[in-house]
Symmetry: C2
Subunit: 350 residues, 2 copies
């Protein structure tokens, strides 16, 4: 989507807005903190959070070589980028043809299955490895614990290698109290371990950014949001910083007490509510605008650039063609901050 | 974003899901109904609602040759597609360089201005025509009525031809009662006409899908959602039908009373709430899933395709690379409906 003929911007002030911006120092600290907590294969980074093979390559450099994804398109992109060591499609799919083409390239592809139909899709498509996806309390995908063993048998009978189990305790990500969260995750993972007994295999895959620190029952954690973060995860007191913002331009100011920037519904994931402005209170978002009541810093000038913080990282990233990566430290003149890299969001759509 | 090597699908059942689908018969009826109400230049279709030059070309075929847009990227795409007769950037922008490149190509470009800074951007960039954007009650862009004449003078002094005024009564789109809506729009347009007195020029541009029928004060209406519609506009009793859906595949069913499809937060604009399922009650959306409680039709099978209706058309379209256009009449077997065309969503991003 990017026009290659455009000169690469040298500073935030030269970017076309709205622009998705990564603070490289904060990103690197997030990656290092997670790599210390869950080194190497203990973390299976989830590419759905950032949809960029350039970003994924940085996580591989930090020691994580096994990735998971939510869509076939994401896996196709990871294969094309050579990040093929051990790829998990941590989701159910029924598209035989594209699954088969993925496996043909020689990448190591494992898919989640939770039904005879998804087993048939994997086997029919030519994928050779599977995890049994088990429902651990979130009303979404995953078979019943009691059905896991039988499904594993069916998968093996269909020619699939069953490498273990996965389950996603997504309903527990935002539990605030750490003791309560640990107790609930323990119960949830109890179901997964019970299923694992019946299924066999080496892998017990679960978790996310909200539970990575308390989920000691899974032997690999599927997390992706931690490296960029958003204002919702930022309420949890995790050892990760906000590394993502959307830089917008002020396009209108009104003496009656508001200003308007050129980033709106099409630049932010809105399911967790409005983005946060560092220059005032967000009143509402329109397609290509956000109206903001200025704080004590007063009214900005038309043309000024301000940073906005997304409430939900995954769907925000999915609205942009690229990350612009900024160096130096935050706090100074936003416009002057250098742009040191561009990471394409190359795993968009399906 | 589309892989040209893929065979064009011949039916809904062959599409990669989630897929944005237009019902051609319903779309054509919507376009015809609007063209009858507001023929030719009485409607200035707003491309922000559909972000597709292929769709815009159909509106040109229906007699509307003057378009408006919300971003420079949208205008660039319209120029590239040759839809250049009279293009209005109905929004404030401060990017001199790209404005200038637009005008260089010989297209007729008019931009909205509401401040000395946006006048300077237009004049500095080489655009030669402007509308004075007037605030008519929505707390967003637009100058005060009392400032409109002075701003027009400044624009003319900067070398711009001032063609008239625009204002967007966006806060009145969803007023339910028609008499109340007409009275409020009259008041709002009273301000715009007062500004027009001071500004001069031929154009009084305003309105949208929610007010097109009552706004008799503007001499051109900016509407785009009408041709595709969404579940929010569908509550207003307008003479337009739902022509847009997202077709999803069932990927998991659970005997405890829900099923899961492969379209979620990344496939739907979420700011007007959840999409509507034709097969049950939507429980919640995740990034790539929606969990649905089945209705009296019962549990669908894994692999089955179902249509979902978006709550907000504009940000939904902006999440997809293309429209798949289906022929025939609705009501039969969804999977078998023929795909008769593909309209690229070629005006994405900024």
């Amino acid at each position: 989507m990017t026009d290659a003929s455009r000169v690469e911007p040298g500073s935030i002030g030269e970017l076309t807005t709205p622009a998705l911006v990564v603070d490289l120092a904060a990103f690197d600290r997030n990656v290092a903190a997670m790599a210390e907590a869950l080194p190497g294969p203990a973390l299976r980074p989830h590419v759905k959070a950032f949809k960029s093979t350039a970003l994924a390559a940085r996580l591989a450099d930090a020691g994580h070589h096994r990735f998971c994804a939510a869509t076939i398109r994401e896996l196709e992109g990871m294969v094309a980028a050579g990040l093929t060591e051990d790829l998990l499609l941590a989701n159910e799919v029924v598209d035989y043809r594209r699954l088969g083409r993925l496996a043909d390239g020689g990448a190591s592809i494992t898919v989640a299955v939770d039904s005879p139909e998804t087993v048939a899709a994997a086997a029919g498509g030519g994928v050779s490895q599977a995890l049994i996806d088990v429902n651990v309390g979130l009303p979404r995908c995953g078979c019943a614990v009691a059905d896991a063993g039988r499904l594993a048998e069916a998968a093996r009978a269909a020619g699939l290698e069953v490498r273990g189990v996965m389950g996603y305790e997504g309903h527990l990500m935002m539990v605030d109290d750490l003791d309560e969260k640990r107790a609930k995750v323990e119960k949830s993972m109890g179901w997964l371990l019970e299923a694992h007994e019946a299924v066999g295999g080496d892998i017990v895959s679960a978790g996310g950014t909200g539970t990575y620190a308390v989920n000691t029952w899974a032997n690999e954690i599927q997390a992706g949001s931690y490296c960029l973060m958003d204002t919702q995860y930022d309420t949890l007191g995790l050892p990760f910083e906000m590394a993502l913002s959307v830089v917008a331009s002020v396009i209108s100011v009104n003496a009656r007490g508001w200003f308007v920037v050129d980033a709106g519904l099409k630049a932010f994931g809105m399911d967790h509510g409005n983005p946060t402005s560092l220059r005032g209170e967000v009143m509402f978002c329109s397609d290509e605008h956000t109206t903001i009541k200025p704080d004590d810093l007063g009214m900005p000038a038309v043309g000024e650039r301000i940073a906005m913080l997304p409430a939900h990282v995954d769907p925000t990233v999915a609205k942009h063609p690229q990350f612009w990566v900024t160096g130096g430290e935050a706090g100074g003149d936003l416009t002057a901050r250098p742009v040191v890299d561009r990471w394409e969001v190359d795993l968009l759509h399906w």
